[in-house]
């Protein structure tokens, strides 16, 4: 860990000013000298490992009055970026109307971490790839652009099979983002160039340029998320398969939401986690299921469609099979729910 300045921002303009990038500097937000800190559960971890070396931390926790609320309205759900994971997972409206969101949070990390961790920080969590986290490895395109990827032929049992490239096969291991991507959420931001709204599916960028992880500009702050309502949100579920029962990242996860009318799937929303490079909405799988009854056979066919483009390496080929089974299980589980 290196010495750093800690800046407590009392207001949104103060936070943006404190994190304002140096004019002309061209770095991705994760490498910017000023970094926001919310719960700090990841930021401090990566600083202690010397993986991240920010010169300034801008503490945004004081913004929670304005950006830390949960509002459920008929047209959708608003989640402030500074809502703690533990708050959202127990919110009665979310539990009733968006069970998949509550479940992704309940199954993440530990209660202690969820009490600290914010939703904004959660979606920006970085990969668990060991070659990325430990700067003692020379090769990692995500950490050192152009250095190569040590995971391609290294230990890669938990690396991704969807959305990968020969630049990077790291898995995005967050859970909450799979619910957001499946439900077609939007991200609200404020930055040096004003406020904007981004489709959540477009927040994270592709693996061909692993050093850049999101479309956010340096100094751009996530203020909240909007999840549109829809006839599918109540019949939704999250299945997370992991090596142990609790407090573990997923090996394969599936967030699904279903609109079933008259025994036929009118609309399916499918997010696939841990097996993918970024929060992954499987439009192929959704299309494969649309207009069909949900049976063991259609669930399996949907799962095959979801992984049609999967690219395995040495130790993670099993994730294709496991990912399919996980998705089929989630679909069948959700189909049994009341709408």
């Amino acid at each position: 860990m290196r010495p750093f300045n800690l800046d407590h921002a009392a207001t949104l303009p103060a936070a943006l000013a404190a994190a304002r990038p140096v004019a002309g500097a061209r770095v991705p937000p994760t490498a910017a000298p000023a970094q926001f800190i919310a719960g700090g559960t990841q930021m401090l971890d990566l600083m202690k490992l010397d993986t991240m070396q920010p010169a300034t931390l801008v503490d945004i926790n004081a913004l929670s009055a304005a950006h830390g609320r949960i509002e459920a309205k008929s047209d959708g759900l608003h989640l402030g970026a500074l809502v703690r994971m533990s708050e959202a997972e127990a919110h009665p409206d979310i539990l009733r109307d968006y069970p998949v969101i509550a479940q992704t949070l309940q199954m993440a990390a530990s209660p202690q971490i969820r009490n600290m961790a914010s939703l904004g920080g959660n979606v920006l969590q970085r990969t668990r790839c060991c070659y990325f986290r430990d700067p003692g490895w020379a090769q990692c395109n995500k950490r050192e652009p152009g250095s190569g990827c040590a995971a391609l032929d290294g230990v890669n049992r938990k690396h991704a099979v969807l959305g990968v490239s020969d630049q990077c096969i790291a898995a995005y291991s967050g859970d909450f983002a799979q619910a957001l991507v499946a439900l077609g959420a939007e991200v609200q931001t404020a930055g040096p160039n004003g406020v904007r709204t981004i489709a959540f599916e477009k927040l994270h960028t592709a693996s061909d340029n692993p050093h850049t992880e999101t479309v956010l500009a340096p100094g751009e702050l996530i203020t909240g998320f909007r999840v549109p309502s829809g006839p599918w949100t109540r019949r939704s579920a999250y299945v997370k398969i992991r090596d142990r029962e609790s407090y573990a990242y997923g090996l394969a996860t599936a967030a699904v939401a279903l609109d079933i009318q008259g025994g036929v799937v009118r609309e399916a929303r499918i997010g696939l986690g841990a097996v993918s490079y970024r929060p992954w909405r499987s439009h192929e799988a959704e299309a494969a299921l649309r207009g069909k009854p949900l049976t063991e056979d259609t669930a399996n066919a949907t799962a095959r469609a979801a992984f049609a483009g999967a690219k395995p390496r040495q130790d993670n080929a099993y994730l294709i099979d496991l990912g399919r089974r996980t998705l089929a299980r989630a679909l069948l589980q959700a189909s049994r729910l009341e709408a």
Partner: protein, 781 residues
């Protein structure tokens, strides 16, 4: 069969005298309150005197090669940096030392800062000392180190490995133990056997990961060194460090009052300790080193990966006719470390033809070491999996297979077991588990979306004992001090020793103080091999007996006293009085008034059966001599148990969960059933961990570990542990030692990994022979 009664909760630290704690009564820990309130001071809490400087390690990012450039300029610029130790200023100032199993004290003979050479990944390459921990860490991150890397050999199947048979490696000075148990003609018997099994098994690298990190603090005063470090081997650390630093052991004191987990990782000295001592000497100031979780994976020992080939031949009646167990174990380049579990696996069952071989495979790794049940965990996984496969091939119940091969004499030399309660353990555990409801057909038991499997396996652990010493002081007021350089690694030795004083001197447990964890106390053996209770309780009992003898001797001699002329051997100390069987009694204070002086102090030394005479002198030099198990010339000393497991495997996604564990154990006299139950239960849970979770991953190209934190090195969490039943069977062994005590520290986790694998086979029909058992191994089923 006696299930352990539910322990009552004691309101305060020491239990009230009404509860009558005594040897054999379930007793709350005397240090329990200190521990749960955070008042217990661990070595890591003790800062090494006032105003210590703080040290931080830098470790190598290659596993083999040389340092070609080490630029300290940037690091030196960090404000507060006081000193940087590297191979340039350490060199031969510290002697490397031999490893523990070769009559040395060290975990590894690789001396990290002796030269520019790198011999394993994560080797210490520098130690930065600064005014604060933060400055030391920052400076360590700012060191610029370049290497000339050579291709390392990481593990089995890597190019460039070298092998040596354990037999050939065994040279003068290694611990006793037979390298190659063999009897009859196993190959011929195997060829002739009607039913045979020939399979290979594999166990992974595992790390102890004690919660208390590998810290060290050192302070010098007038040429004398005090070391605060979590340790399972006080005198070993003291003497080993003296050898490394070229000074007298008497000038070193090692302090480790409580240990936040040992599991074997603190039995041998690591190379860090001497570095901290040297830094404190150079700075003339106490220095405190705190290492990180990931550094703990490379600067200390670990359980090495092993491979096995087990061949079994049996008659159609299930009786073994041939057993061949071959093992391969990874070690470092310089050290022939091995656990060699064939000592036990070749002697467990009746079998006329036995052969075995252990091979050490040298790779570019640090030297491995002991980890809870070092030989038994990997070797019994192989044997007990093979036994289950044999039961399947014979269409025989696995318990019955053990029964037809049960024996009171080991097969190699025909030596008798001092006691063996294996089949009663199986029967008791089977009954508690409900084994009779098992359908033997794999995949036949189902609960909704879960495939259910039941499995079992044998556990055993050698009953070891070493020479030990203790001092006991009794005052007329009935307060007792027990002093011995034993180790409170969480197993409850302090409570056990307090109970010995209670039983021997008839005092209230609240009046007993037990001092352990300090090399200034009389020496005790390493806390390893589950010997502590047997070794130290025995010698404390002897010291108490000396005291009782002196009081009784004076009492029978006193003409005006109530005991005049009686046989002193018949007098006992109980409830604060001296008593005769006739009913005559006298308060302790009155009885003690006849002995010269105020308090009575007794020092006792004990040499157990089979241990050579010179062993006590060696003990004072930090050299233990553990004897027992299969090492004795005249008999076999083992404790036994039976492990039962229920697993559930999701029929679709194949994750494996363990809702139920039942274990039954017989281990001689149990001094504190409450602590014993906890210890065995912890072992059962660890057994599940070893079967399903724990494995250190290694990058085969770099020979470096990749999952070196507790988020990626998995152990079970509460949600993984549901019903655990621990049954203790009564067992009387009049031979092992005077008190009939067998060690139980490492009995609980042995064989459990096989029981889980056997249950997974029963649930799914898939036999997994490489641990850990992970869901991808079951996806094809």
């Amino acid at each position: 069969m006696s299930d352990i009664t539910e322990p009552q909760i004691m309101p305060q630290g020491a239990p009230p005298s009404a509860a009558k704690p005594a040897m054999g009564a379930a007793t709350s820990r005397v240090d329990g309150r200190l521990k749960v309130t955070g008042a217990a001071r661990y070595a890591s809490d003790l800062y090494g005197g006032a105003n210590p400087a703080h040290a931080y390690l830098a470790t190598s990012t290659i596993a083999r090669g040389r340092i070609t450039r080490l630029n300290e300029a940037d690091a030196r610029k960090v404000p507060g940096v006081l000193d940087i130790l590297t191979f340039r200023n350490v060199g031969d100032r510290i002697k490397p030392g031999k490893i523990f199993s070769q009559k040395g004290y060290m975990g590894s003979s690789i001396a990290p800062l002796a030269s520019d050479r790198i011999q394993h990944g994560g080797q210490i390459v520098a130690m930065v000392v600064a005014e604060t921990f933060e400055a030391a860490r920052e400076a360590a991150h700012r060191l610029q180190i370049e290497y000339a890397a050579e291709t390392p050999s990481a593990t089995f199947d890597s190019p460039g490995l070298e092998s040596i048979s354990a037999e050939a490696s065994s040279r003068e000075g290694e611990q006793p133990g037979e390298e190659k148990p063999k009897v009859g003609d196993a190959a011929a018997a195997l060829a002739a056997a009607p039913v045979t099994i020939d399979q290979r098994y594999e166990t992974p690298i595992q790390h102890h990961n004690p919660i208390e990190l590998f810290t060290t603090a050192c302070a010098w005063t007038d040429g004398k060194l005090t070391v605060w470090e979590p340790s399972q081997n006080m005198y070993g650390f003291q003497n080993g460090l003296a050898e490394q630093l070229g000074m007298a052991a008497a000038d070193i004191r090692v302090i480790s009052p409580y240990v936040g987990g040992g599991f074997g990782s603190r039995g041998s000295l690591t190379q860090r300790t001497a570095l901290v001592a040297l830094a404190a000497q150079r700075l003339r100031r106490p220095v405190r080193l705190e290492t990180t979780r990931d550094q703990g994976f490379t600067i200390a020992t670990y359980r090495a990966e092993t491979r096995h080939r087990v061949r079994l031949g049996a008659g159609t009646d299930g009786k073994l006719q041939a057993l061949i167990h071959e093992g391969w174990e990874v070690s470092s380049r310089p050290d022939n470390y091995k656990v060699g579990g064939t000592d036990a696996t070749t002697r467990l069952y009746a079998c006329p033809n036995v052969d075995s071989e252990v091979t050490i495979v040298h790779a570019d790794r640090n030297t491995p070491g002991f980890m809870r049940s070092p030989p038994e965990v990997p070797y019994m996984f192989a044997l007990e999996s093979a036994m289950d496969e044999l039961a399947v091939a014979l269409k025989m119940d696995p318990i019955e297979l053990r029964r037809v091969n049960d024996t009171m004499h080991e097969p190699i030399k025909g030596l008798p077991y001092t006691s063996r309660t294996l089949m009663p353990c199986f029967d008791a555990a089977a009954k508690a588990f409900g084994w009779s409801g098992r359908d033997a057909q794999p995949g036949s038991m189902r609960d909704g979306e879960w495939m259910v499997g039941w499995g079992c396996a044998t556990s055993l652990y050698p009953t070891n004992m070493g020479p030990a010493t203790a001092r006991v002081v009794l005052t007329p007021q009935g307060t007792v001090k027990v002093q011995t350089a034993g180790h409170e690694i969480g197993t409850g030795i302090t409570t056990v020793l307090a109970l010995m004083a209670v039983s021997g001197l008839g005092v209230d447990i609240a009046k007993v103080t037990v001092e352990v964890g300090d090399s200034a106390l009389p020496p005790a053996p390493v806390a390893g091999g589950s010997n502590s209770t047997a070794s130290i309780a025995t010698v404390v009992a002897q010291a108490c007996e000396q005291i009782r003898g002196r009081i009784a001797g004076a009492a029978v001699a006193a003409e005006n006293g109530p005991f005049h002329g009686m046989d002193p051997a018949g007098l006992v100390l109980v409830d604060g009085t001296l008593r005769a069987s006739s009913g005559a009694s006298e308060p302790l204070e009155a009885a003690m008034s006849r002995t010269a002086g105020g308090a009575i102090e007794a020092y006792a030394e004990n040499i157990p059966h089979g241990v050579p005479e010179g062993a006590l002198k060696k003990l004072y030099l930090g050299q233990g001599t553990l004897m027992g198990g299969a090492k004795l010339k005249d008999r076999m000393q083992f404790a036994f148990g039976a492990q039962f497991v229920e697993v559930r495997v999701n029929a679709r996604t194949r994750e494996i969960r363990v809702p139920r564990l039942v274990g039954a154990y017989a281990a001689g006299r149990i001094v504190n059933p409450k602590a014993a139950k906890s210890q065995l239960m912890g072992g059962q849970i660890w057994g599940v961990s070893a079967a399903l979770h724990e494995a250190t991953e290694i990058d085969r190209r770099a020979a470096r570990y990749t999952n070196n934190d507790l988020a990626e090195y998995l152990i079970p969490v509460n949600a993984d542990v549901q019903e655990v039943t621990t049954i203790l069977l009564p067992e009387q062994d009049t031979q092992v030692n005077e008190l009939g005590i067998k060690g139980i520290g490492e009995l609980g986790n042995v064989g459990l990994n096989a029981a889980v694998a056997n249950a997974v086979f029963h649930a799914t029909g898939v036999r997994v022979r490489e641990l850990p058992i992970r869901l991808e191994k079951l996806l094809e089923a």
